[in-house]
Symmetry: C2
């Protein structure tokens, strides 16, 4: 696991240098535009794990490509992650991101929304730079996967927000998996791996296996994220504790609680969850948390996460890698990390 | 002028069919995702002039290309216009768009913001379809221009929002032109024309001339837009009258007023303009409007718009077109329309 963390950090440093030194504009003589550039650099400069760029370059290595060929695409995935987090934080009304105030809390929603768009556009501009390194055809394949990734993510985000907006609670485990596949799995695991494989020139079979691996592991990753939101160390985790309850999120933990709680408890939990963020009292949150503990809903969800991780590893073991064996093994370590991490 | 309007309408219809029938997803079995698709189709289905797709296909024709080759790119420009308007309406707190409630007024800000992102991603996905028709290299050139267009637009949007957020009034005509070039000129005139020319295979000289044409005419277009916001027929124009005053916009009209008004009037106008949207009374708006009338600030701005339009036409006349002469003449008609239109 130490190797994995060191490797993630090494790749993250390379990607950060590329983003901040070459891909993002650094300064403008026009005062307002200069502030926009500063805002675009804000999230990229905050501490983050860098899992997605790691998955991209590591899969590229396992599939027989070079790290240098995958680095730009890995940086673009990280840029994507940053712009979508800016918008996600506005949509969720989040206060903290990576241990600091969310961008819209620092600069207001209008400027932050626009800065997210600016970063989105710069992401596509950066992808185009692939052309001179990996050729036009492969760059096209990268862009197709990339646009698929963004499509899935916005659909998942809509599902989650739509459930809250429409106060929907007639949801089960399958609904949660459908939402998570779109909201999390594609951009967290499936596409980062597939993009690395595409850069390396991998074939259809490998890409299909990586989709399967990514979907299972992405859901497992999200379940662990939901667990940390409730039971994690806020300082390590970098978000407000129990934010998901404040935001009314339909996590597997909460859906399980609703499935096993008594009718009275169920009604009370739903009425609390349906309140607007600002209307939820500390006692409301404590009540929901205490029921989650009483019914061991986190334990239930973590068991599911472990099962999904094992499925993912089994798919991974079926891939016939053409490149670096160590890189392939590192992907297995990552799978375990996704469900065991504390941040 | 009748020919121009008919031609704009004809192109718009073709582009709309392409967007709604082929480029946007139509329906999903998942209820929430289906709502997202409906939201993505909302602005594209509203009535609009279709100036940008018209400029793209017409310039392509003038530069010796075919309409069919330019149509997809024209549709992508229209898709871009739609997603950025969704976000622009949220950023400005606008109520109406094209005569109907803005998207975030219908569905809430979170879902509308996300739908804008979804449409943004679909725009890039659609551009990629050019590959099989105009080849990979030309498609790359289209994407480079497109990303430049989005970069300029977000920078201009940031300048305008930043001025409001920082209560800046130490601005002159040149500042307004700098902002307008970025916010309006690139995506309204320069890039639509240049994209059409790129599809037709035009050279660097023509592209430079189209940039110059587009920047001048784009500013003229924006000045006319600012005038209509204050003095236009709301039913034709489709936005709330005097919205720019409510939003605190630094229009050329307002900057001119501040330059010529007495110190007392100037102070009062600034203190009104600095109020939050909701804090501005009807009397506040009337006061500003009455001063604008007294100093004929709209007349001043329109004169500037006409000068800029004439500069643009003079640049246009210097272009050596390789294609359809009628198309080239249509661009001149459009230049006049941009400053004479009432909607």
């Amino acid at each position: 696991m130490t190797d994995l963390l060191a490797e993630m950090k090494r790749v993250k440093t390379r990607v950060d240098d590329l983003i901040l030194d070459e891909l993002l504009p650094r300064s403008s003589a026009i005062k307002e535009v200069d502030l926009l550039y500063k805002m675009m650099q804000d999230y990229p400069k905050r501490q983050a794990k860098g899992m997605r760029p790691f998955l991209c370059v590591t899969t590229c290595g396992a599939a027989g490509g070079t790290e240098d060929d995958a680095l730009l695409t890995a940086a673009c995935i990280e840029m994507f992650q940053n712009w979508i987090l800016i918008h996600d934080d506005i949509e969720d009304g989040s206060e903290l991101r990576r241990g600091e105030p969310a961008l819209h809390r620092k600069y207001g929603e209008a400027l932050a929304l626009n800065a997210g768009d600016a970063l989105h556009a710069r992401t596509w501009e950066a992808i185009l730079l692939n052309g001179s390194r990996i050729g036009l055809e492969r760059t096209f394949a990268v862009m197709e996967e990339f646009s698929h990734m963004v499509n899935e993510t916005t659909e998942g985000q809509h599902m989650e927000l739509g459930w809250v907006a429409e106060k929907r609670w007639d949801l089960n485990e399958k609904d949660y998996y459908e939402m998570c596949t779109r909201k999390t799995s594609w951009y967290t695991v499936a596409s980062p791996c597939r993009l690395g494989a595409i850069v390396a020139g991998a074939g259809r079979v490998t890409l299909d296996q990586l989709r399967e691996f990514g979907i299972s592991l992405g859901i497992a990753f999200q379940i662990q994220d939901d667990s940390l939101n409730l039971a994690g160390d806020q300082k390590k985790y970098g978000k407000v504790k129990s934010d998901d309850i404040l935001e009314g999120k339909r996590t597997l933990i909460l859906l399980h609680l609703l499935a096993v709680a008594s009718q009275g408890e169920r009604d009370k939990v739903i009425s609390i969850m349906n309140k607007q963020r600002g209307a939820k009292s500390a006692a409301d949150v404590s009540y929901v948390v205490s029921l989650i503990e009483r019914y061991d809903a986190i334990g239930f969800a973590r068991k599911k996460a472990t099962e999904l991780m094992k499925e993912a590893v089994s798919t991974l073991n079926g891939i016939e890698w053409k490149g670096d064996r160590d890189a392939a093994e590192m992907l297995t370590s990552f799978a375990r990390f996704a469900v065991e991490r504390e941040w």
